[in-house]
Symmetry: C2
Subunit: 328 residues, 2 copies
C-alpha cells in the first residue's frame, strides 16, 4: 500500500553495533549520521557460552526495538578485544582481559541468528574507523588512534585504510613495550604500555596504595564500600599525594614513550586519544613527544577524541560504509 511505502522511505538506514570489551558488553543502534539511537550495556560474561548467549539476546532485543524506532538495520558491526581476522569474522586470539576468546567465529552465529550481514574487527581498529568517518580523522590520510579503557587498544590509518598486518596483529598499540622488564601485562609479557597506563593498571596501583594506607588524602571523598579506581588515584594526586603523583607520572611517561615509538615507525599526521583517560593524558603526552621524539616528529599533534563511543561508532561504520556500497 501507499502508506507502507511511505513508512519504508521514512525509515533511517542504521547499523547494529556490538562492543565486546574487557569489562562491558554493549549493543547500540546507530543511524547513518553516527547518532546512537539506543544503547544497551551489560557486564561482559566470563565464559564463552554465556558471552555468546547474552550477545545474541541483546542483539535480538535491539533489532526488535529498531522496528519501533523506525531504524532499518542494514547489518551488524562487532568491535572486540583481541586479534581479529575481519575477512573471516573470527577472533583469533585474546589476552586474558577477555577469557575463552580465541578461535571464535563471531560472524556465523550472529548472521544465522539475525539474518543480517556481519562485520567484525578489533576494538582499537574500530575506534580508528570511527575517527575516519565521524571524528578528527575525517579526510586525514595517515593517523593513529589509541583508546584507553580497561586495556589499551589502537588503530592505524595509512593512506585512508586500516593497517591489519600479515597476521592481523598490527596496531596492537597497547602491547608496545617501553621497558625491558616493567610490570606484568595481560598478554603474559612485561613492560607494555597497557601494563603502565590502562584503566586496569592505574586501578591496580590505586589498590596497592590503598592497601598500604597511602592513597587517601585528607578531605578526599572515599567511602569504604566504594571500589578503588583510576579516578581515586587521579584525585589523590591532585590533592597533593606524591605517591599517587609518581604512579601517574610513570604511567604518562610510559604512554608518551610508546606513542613516540609509533611516531618513529609510521609517523602519522596526528594522534587521537580516546577513552575515559584521554583528556587526562593529552597534555603530558604532547609534552613527552616534544621532549623525546626526533626533531622531525616533535610537532605531531595529539587530539582527544570528540566522539562519545568510538568503538561502537566504528563497528557501525563498517556496516554503514560496506552495506550501503554493496546493497544500495
Amino acid at each position: 500500500s501507499i502508506s507502507q511505502d511511505i513508512d519504508h522511505i521514512l525509515e533511517t538506514q542504521s547499523a547494529l553495533s556490538v562492543d565486546l570489551g574487557g569489562t562491558n558488553l554493549r549493543v547500540a543502534i546507530v543511524c547513518m549520521k553516527g547518532n546512537i539511537v539506543k544503547k544497551y550495556t551489560e557486564t561482559n560474561p566470563k565464559t564463552y557460552e554465556d558471552r555468546i548467549r547474552l550477545m545474541l539476546k541483546m542483539c535480538k532485543d535491539a533489532v526488535r526495538d529498531a522496528v519501533s524506532l523506525n531504524c532499518r538495520i542494514l547489518g551488524v558491526g562487532i568491535s572486540t578485544g583481541g586479534r581479529v581476522n575481519p575477512q573471516e569474522g573470527v577472533v583469533l586470539h585474546s589476552t586474558n582481559l577477555i577469557q575463552e576468546w580465541s578461535s571464535v567465529n563471531l560472524r556465523t552465529p550472529v548472521s544465522d541468528a539475525l539474518g543480517l550481514p556481519v562485520w567484525v574487527d578489533n576494538d582499537g581498529n574500530c575506534a580508528a574507523l570511527a575517527e575516519r568517518k565521524f571524528g578528527h580523522g575525517k579526510g586525514v590520510e595517515n593517523f593513529v588512534t589509541i583508546i584507553t579503557g580497561t586495556g589499551i587498544g589502537g588503530g592505524i590509518i595509512h593512506q585512508n585504510e586500516l593497517i591489519h598486518g600479515s597476521t592481523f596483529c598490527a596496531a596492537e598499540l597497547g602491547h608496545i613495550k617501553v621497558s625491558l622488564e616493567g610490570p606484568e601485562c595481560s598478554c603474559g609479557s612485561r613492560g607494555c604500555i597497557e601494563a603502565y597506563a590502562s584503566g586496569m593498571a592505574l586501578q591496580r596501583e590505586a589498590k596497592r596504595l590503598n592497601d598500604e594506607d597511602m592513597l587517601k588524602k585528607e578531605g578526599m571523598d572515599l567511602k569504604l564500600s566504594e571500589p578503588i579506581t583510576a579516578a581515586h588515584l587521579i584525585s589523590a594526586a591532585r590533592m597533593g599525594n606524591s605517591k599517587a603523583d609518581a604512579v601517574l607520572h610513570k604511567a604518562t611517561t610510559a604512554l608518551g614513550v610508546g606513542i613516540v615509538n609509533i611516531l618513529h615507525i609510521v609517523n602519522p599526521t596526528l594522534v587521537i586519544l580516546s577513552g575515559v583517560l584521554a583528556s587526562y593524558y593529552k597534555e603530558p603526552v604532547q609534552r613527552i613527544i616534544s621532549e623525546r621524539a626526533l626533531l622531525s616528529a616533535q610537532s605531531i599533534k595529539v587530539f582527544t577524541s570528540a566522539l562519545e563511543e568510538p568503538a561502537l561508532l566504528g563497528a557501525a561504520s563498517m556496516v554503514l560504509d560496506y552495506a550501503t556500497r554493496r546493497t544500495y
Copy 2:
C-alpha cells in the same frame, strides 16, 4: 659508425650509488643486475663543505671509470643517514652521528656537477629497497629491514612501497625506545635501540670494560695499539667473559624488544637484519620474539640479508627502477 653503435649496445645500464654513513663515505658503480662493478671508500668528513667536496670528487672519478668499464650511468642514487625528503632530494635533519647535516639539498649540487638525475633517500629505506629488488624481500608485500652499522637504520615496505610518513620520519627504527631511562642516544634522547645495540653502542661498552681492565680474556688476541670494537666484545663473551656477555645480552634483548614493537605496530611478514652484526643478532632476536610477542606475531621470521651492500644497492635501485621506467 657501426662499431660505435655496437659498443653503445654492449654498454651495461648502471647506476652511481653513494652511501653517506656515520663512519664512511662510499661510492659504487652498480649494474642493472645488482652487481657492484667498482667501489670507492673514504672516511666520511666531519664538516659539510669537506663532505660535499669529497662526494663530488668521488662521483666524478667514478663516472670517468664507468666509461672505461663500459657502464652507462643512468643516474645517481644517494643513501644517507638522517631524515630525507625524497621528493626534494633534501636531508631534513640528522642525529649527531653525521654532523652539519640538516637542511642539506643533495640533489642540486650532484645533478649540477654530473648532469645526471639524482634520487636521495634515508639509508635504512635504501636497505629496504635493496631487499625488495635483489634480496629476501623480492615479491614480499610487507616486510621490515633493520640495518646495524655505526647506528641503526630501518625501512618498512607496506603493500610493496616504502612508508615515509607525514614528516619523513617513519621507519626511524634505531630510535624505537625500550626503556624510560636507558643509555643516551645520538638523537639526544634515551633508551633507543641504537643506544643499546648499534656498533657504536657496543664499541662504547667494549671501551668501558677495557678501561676497567675487564675486557681482555686470557688467550685473547688484542694488541695495545688496536682500536677496541664490538668484535672484541663478542670474542670476549665467547671466551667466557661474563661482563661482556651481560652487555651483549642486554643489547640483544633491547633489539629484540624493539623489533617486537615493530611487529605490534605494522606486523610485517618478515624481518630482515643486515649490517655486520646481523648474523650475531639473528638467533637471539628470533627467540625474544617467540618469548615476548603476542601469540599471533610469535611465528614471524627473522632473516639475515644475503646482500653484500644493502644501502648502496638500494640507492642504485632508485636509479635503475625510475630511470629505466622514465627514459627507456
